[in-house]
């Protein structure tokens, strides 16, 4: 399911991205679709609270005494007529100090609670019948939400380098200089998004791993990728003749793209490291677990929207960049 939703959002954005053409003005509905999708993704990422279950709270209390987290629980009466709270995993307990909250049986609540002396104690009533929540991941907590912004940036850089490679092949096949413009526009946008993925990842790493740069396989591989594409622009700027520039950068763009799947998808998953999804990763639970292939269903909705929306936004940027470069060239 996770793969299907992501593949669908990516394929749809790829098809729509080339509509009506990569270098022609996009229709209004296309732009509105992009704007609405990203706006919805932002709202659905920021607004829903993170809420865990009783096992999460017990685990967290074992690591840090007195820590309180949000619990998503249903308030009901058990077979003995006692008031209990049941989480999504069917685990039932009584949460103390909930008397003053004015709760109604049968409703779901988010109750900020702590676990002390084998008892669950309420700290604050956060909300009633929440329309959407995200799972609590002990090692990530609120930082879970970066997934919806950071991962699309990294994905778009791969998409941009792929498009750059496609136009490089087209140039070498036809020797038509019109393919050189999208080639370089796509590679430069890919580098911009790779830098954004690195910077957002660094900021997250500071608060998750303790420092901005850790030489984690994921960080090292994206740095190598940036250096490879940095050399691409150095190569381009060192050649004056348009034909030689286009021919050499086409060959380089094809060779550079061969490294992309290894540096982005294979190497960081084979090596052991700190980044979620690395070979020895066991802490990300149901959110991005590579072992089970699962992604929380609520997270899947907002993540799918973010992947689609940001990919469309990239195509809009690429379209503008190509049209501006074409205009300059025509002059």
């Amino acid at each position: 399911m996770k793969g299907l939703i992501i593949a669908l959002s990516v394929t749809l954005s790829f098809v729509l991205g080339f509509f009506p053409s990569i270098n022609k003005s996009k229709p209004l509905w296309w732009k509105l679709l992009t704007i609405t999708t990203i706006t919805t993704a932002i709202v659905l990422t920021l607004l829903p609270p993170i809420a865990g279950n009783f096992a999460d709270l017990k685990f967290v209390a074992g690591m840090e005494q007195g820590k309180h987290i949000n619990l998503l629980v249903k308030y009901e009466t058990n077979s003995q007529g006692l008031d209990i709270f049941t989480d999504d995993y069917g685990d039932s307990h009584f949460i103390e100090k909930t008397e003053s909250f004015n709760l109604e049986r049968g409703n779901k609540y988010i109750i900020n609670s702590r676990f002390e002396n084998e008892k669950y104690i309420a700290v604050e009533l956060v909300s009633a019948n929440p329309f959407m929540t995200y799972p609590f991941i002990p090692s990530l907590e609120d930082r879970t939400k970066i997934l919806n912004f950071h991962v699309p940036m990294a994905w778009i850089s791969v998409l941009a380098y792929l498009i750059s490679m496609i136009y490089a092949v087209q140039y070498l096949r036809t020797k038509d200089l019109k393919y050189d413009t999208p080639l370089v526009a796509s590679a430069s946008l890919g580098t911009l998004f790779a830098i954004l993925a690195t910077v957002t990842g660094m900021l997250w790493a500071k608060f998750n791993w303790g420092s901005f740069w850790n030489w984690d396989p994921r960080q090292t591989s994206i740095l190598i990728l940036l250096l490879i594409y940095g050399a691409f622009f150095a190569l381009r700027s060192s050649i004056d003749v348009a034909e030689s520039k286009a021919r050499l950068s086409s060959v380089y763009a094809i060779l550079a793209f061969i490294t992309v799947p290894f540096l982005v998808f294979i190497l960081p998953r084979m090596a052991t490291g700190l980044h979620p999804g690395s070979a020895d990763d066991s802490s990300t639970g149901p959110l991005v677990s590579s072992q089970s292939g699962m992604l929380d269903s609520n997270m899947l909705i907002s993540f799918g929207l973010a992947m689609f929306g940001f990919s469309m936004f990239f195509f809009w940027l690429l379209n503008l960049q190509i049209r501006i470069m074409k205009y300059r060239g025509d002059k």
Binding site: K26, K31, I38, I42, V43, L46, L47, W316, L317, L320
Partner: protein, 44 residues
């Protein structure tokens, strides 16, 4: 309203993010419009 925002500060974060996103969108739309005008001028 102010009390609500004070108690639910995530709405303040959402507001700021949407204002920035709105700014980027308006810049993109105006750039798109300008490029279109330039393209029409060159076609003529």
């Amino acid at each position: 309203m102010l009390d609500f925002l004070h108690d639910n500060s995530i709405f303040v974060v959402l507001g700021i993010t949407l204002i920035i996103w709105g700014g980027i969108v308006s810049y993109m739309l105006s750039l798109d419009k300008k490029v279109k005008k330039l393209e029409e001028l060159t076609e003529e």
